[in-house]
Amino acid sequence: MATLHTVNKSPFGSSVLDDCLGLAKSGSTVLLFEDGVYAATTGTKSAEAITNADGITFAVLGPDAKARGVEGKIADGIKVVDYDGFVDLVAEHDKVHAWL
């Protein structure tokens, strides 16, 4: 059952992204939104971890990245989606696991 994980915290202040990656199975997707989008920005340890994560797909919510002025800094290979894309991700996966 493919899971969509949602992460809305900055990886610098919170352990939530690490906690998520520790339990996410191959084949699942992690959507970074709200303050979670910073995790995908270039020049950070988290972006490196994300880029190297095996079998997990990452997506960033574009409107949140744009709001924070980091839309141009999203690391290569990470898909940027809007709220429509968020809805599609929810529909395409079997369940949503919100990491709070």
């Binding site: 906690d19 520790g22 339990l23 199975k25 369940k95 696991h97 990491w99 709070l100």
Partner: protein, 133 residues
């Protein structure tokens, strides 16, 4: 057909209300005859510590409620081993949670299942609905 519901408990008690209000959902949810599991990971494992005494902080001690979960047929309680270890805790530091197995002449059984991160990932994979607290 019953759905598999998993309550993901990730936060320490008292500092925030999520632990208590998660427990309130579990108790109400028990009446719906779904297939219920609870997971305690990260700081969530602190919810289950023995010997909580809130007299000094003026808040209600809700930790005894965990011991009543067995009576509500909530008896699949997964505790992540790595989370315990990182916090210098072992099973002995947690309350002893049990349930009585109707099919085995009401034999008392442990509710807590100590699982590794990767075992827990498999359990979560198998769920239908994740309730996050």
């Amino acid at each position: 057909m019953a759905k598999k519901f998993m309550y993901m408990n990730t936060k320490a008690p008292y500092g925030t209300i999520y632990a208590l209000e998660s427990l309130e959902v579990v108790l109400i949810g028990a009446a719906f005859e779904q297939d219920v599991s609870l997971a305690f990971i990260g700081d969530g494992v602190y919810q289950l510590t023995k010997g909580q005494n809130t007299d000094g902080i003026g808040m209600k001690n809700f930790s005894p409620t965990y011991t009543a979960l067995g009576d509500y047929d909530v008896n699949k309680i997964y505790v992540e081993k790595e989370s315990l270890e990182e916090r210098g805790l072992s099973l002995d530091d947690l309350q002893h949670l049990t349930w009585e197995d109707e099919d085995e002449d009401w034999a008392e059984k442990d509710s807590i299942r100590l699982v590794s991160r990767s075992e827990l990932a498999d359990v979560i994979e198998d769920q239908d609905v994740i309730l996050s607290f």
